[in-house]
Symmetry: D2
Subunit: 186 residues, 4 copies
C-alpha cells in the first residue's frame, strides 16, 4: 500500500479510538489538571514521548509542569497531579511512581488500554483508549493494522492535545499567548 | 466543546494533512531509510518527541538508529541518513546538524511545513505537511483549530508511523518479530 | 597501572586545575547565581552531564533551575542567568543559546578552557579551567594523562559542586534541608 | 571559605575515596566491560549523569554502549553487562533493571556506597566507594563537608574515567583514535 492508503486506515482507527473516549472521564481529567498546582508527567518508551509533548504544552500555558526523570523535577507533594501514560497500566517503574504519588497525597490520572490494571486501581481518573495491547494484538477483538502500541500511542497523544484545547477554553487562552512562553533556546 | 466534538475536527484536519502528502516523496523517504546503514533522527521541542518515536520503532525493526543529542550517538558518516523534523525548516541547531551531515556525505530527509526552507534546500527528500505554521497560524490560508504546531506534530508522527509500516512491508516483518527487540528495562 | 596508581595522578591533576581557578571569578559566578531569578544550564556531551548535575543541586536548594533542551524549560528572560559549560567555548549550539540569552538581556556565565572564545566574549563571568583541550592535548603546555576532555569535565563538575557549597554558606542551608526537595520518583 | 579552600578539602576527600577502592574489584570491573558484547549503563539522578559520561566514553572507544531509558536502547541479552551506579544500591527502578538483567543471563557491575544492598547481592562485581550516604551523612563514621551524595558522585565518575584508561591500556587505544568517534552533531 502507499502512504495515502495507509493514512486512510489509520485515520479510521483514530476515529474509532478517539470517539469512544468517555466524555465524563475526559472532563474529570481536564478538571484535575486545572485544580493541580503542579503536574508531573510520566511514561515509558513511546508513551513517554507523548506525555512529554503534553508536559511541554502545559508549560506553554503557564502551568507548572514536570517530566518525571528529568533533571529539575522536584518531589511530588499533595498539591500535585501525576499523569501516567501506560498501555498496560503495569509498567514497573510507573507503578512505583504512582504508589509514591498516592503516598504523598497527590492525585493520579491514567491513560491506558487496561482499566483493570494496578495503576488504574490507584488512579483518580482513568482514560480508557480502546486500542489493541502491544503484547496481545492478535488476541483482542479490537483490530489495528499498526504494529505494537502505535494506535494507542497516537490516540493518547491526540487525546492530550484535545485536553489542552479544553483547558485553553476554560482558561481563555489562545495560541498567540502561549507562543510567548515557547522556549527561545532550542 | 467536549472531547468527542474536538476529536471529530482534529481527525478531519489529519485527514487533510495526511492525504495531501506526496506519494512519490513518501516512497523516496522510505527508500532512503532502507538504503542507509545508520539513521540519525533530529528534531526540537515537540517535533523532537515525534522523531524519537520513529527512532525507537526503527530500533525495534533492527535498524541502526540514533537520536542526535543522546548519549551514545556517534558521528554521522557518508553511509548515514539524517531525518530532520522541523516545521519551519530553519531551527538553528537543526540547520547546523544538516550542514554537518551534508559535509560528511550523508543523506538528509526533512519533514516540514516549509519546503522552501534552508534545510529543505539541503535535503535529498522533503516531506511537506500542509499544516499552519505555529508562528503565523492566522496568516496562512490553511486553518486549524489547534494551537501552535499541534497539527503539524501529530501529522509528522503519524506519517513516520506509516513509513514504518511501508518499511515492514518491504522487509517482511510483523509486529511480533519487532516486539522481541522492545527494551526489557524501562 | 592499577586503579590506585591512576587515581594518584588524576588527583594531582585536579589539585592543579582546581587550585588555579581565580578566586574573584568564582565569587562573581556565585553572586550571579544568587542574583538570578532563574538559572538556565547548558552544555554538550560530557560537559552537559556535569552542568545537569549543577542544575539538579540548584533545584535541591530551591533555586528555579532549568536545563536547556529539556521538556519544561521556558524561554529565558532578562532576570535569567545562562550557565554554559564548554571546553572550547565555540560549540555552535551553545554559541546560539548564549547569543539568544544576551539578546533577551540575561546574564551569561561560562566555564571553559578557552577564555578567548566566542562565548567568553559574550559572558559576564568566565571561569577558566587550566586543562588541555580535547582537540590539541599534544600541543598545549598543560599535560594530562587523561583522554580527550576528561580533566576539564571532572574539574568543571567539582567546581560547580564547590559553588553549591559557597551558595549554601551564603543562604544558610545545610544538606538535610536540601534533601527534602530531592525527587521522590526516580 | 573561598573556592580554593573548598577545593583543598574536596581533593583530600577524593584522595581518600579513590585510594580505598579495591584493586581486585577494579580489575574485575574492567574485565567484565572487556568481555561484554554490549554494555548497558543505568543510574538515577546525579549518579545517572556520571554513568552517562561513562557510556559516552565507551562509545568513543568503539564499545557498543547504551543508556537504559534512552530512545534506541534495545533489550539486554546474555552477552550484555549492566553497569549500575547507585549510592544506596536500593533505588527501586534500578533494582528492577538489575533483576531483569539477571533473568536474561547478563552480568551486573555495581558502583555503590552500600555493598550489602539488594543490587549488590545480584552483582558480579561491586565497587565500594567509601563515602557517606546522602540519607545518613551524620550517622556514619566517614565524614564529608559536601552535601548529600556529592562525594560519592564525584568518586564514581572519576573511578569510571580511570576504568576507561585501564581499558585503553588493554586495548592499545589513545585519545586521538577515540576523538574520531566523537559526535559531530551536538
Amino acid at each position: 500500500m502507499n502512504n495515502k492508503e495507509y493514512a486512510k486506515i489509520v485515520v479510521e482507527e483514530l476515529t474509532h479510538t478517539l470517539s469512544s473516549i468517555d466524555t465524563e472521564a475526559a472532563e474529570r481529567f481536564v478538571q484535575l489538571v486545572m485544580d493541580a498546582e503542579e503536574v508531573y508527567c510520566a511514561g515509558a518508551g513511546r508513551s513517554g514521548f507523548q506525555v512529554k509533548g503534553f508536559a511541554m504544552r502545559l508549560m506553554h500555558m503557564g502551568v507548572n509542569s514536570y517530566v518525571v526523570g528529568e533533571t529539575c523535577t522536584p518531589n511530588i507533594k499533595d498539591n500535585g497531579l501525576l499523569v501516567v501514560c501506560s498501555g498496560s497500566g503495569e509498567t514497573k517503574s510507573l507503578v512505583n511512581h504512582a504508589a509514591k504519588a498516592k503516598e504523598m497525597g497527590a492525585k493520579i490520572a491514567l491513560i491506558t488500554i487496561n482499566p483493570a490494571s494496578t495503576i488504574a486501581n490507584m488512579a483518580d481518573v482513568v482514560i480508557e483508549i480502546s486500542a489493541p495491547s502491544p503484547k496481545s494484538a492478535k488476541e483482542g477483538d479490537i483490530k489495528s493494522i499498526q504494529p505494537m502500541g502505535s494506535l494507542f500511542e497516537q490516540s493518547e497523544g491526540i487525546f492530550m492535545d484535545i485536553a489542552i484545547m479544553m483547558l485553553m477554553e476554560k482558561k481563555g487562552l489562545d495560541s498567540d499567548t502561549m507562543f510567548g512562553r515557547h522556549a527561545n533556546m532550542e
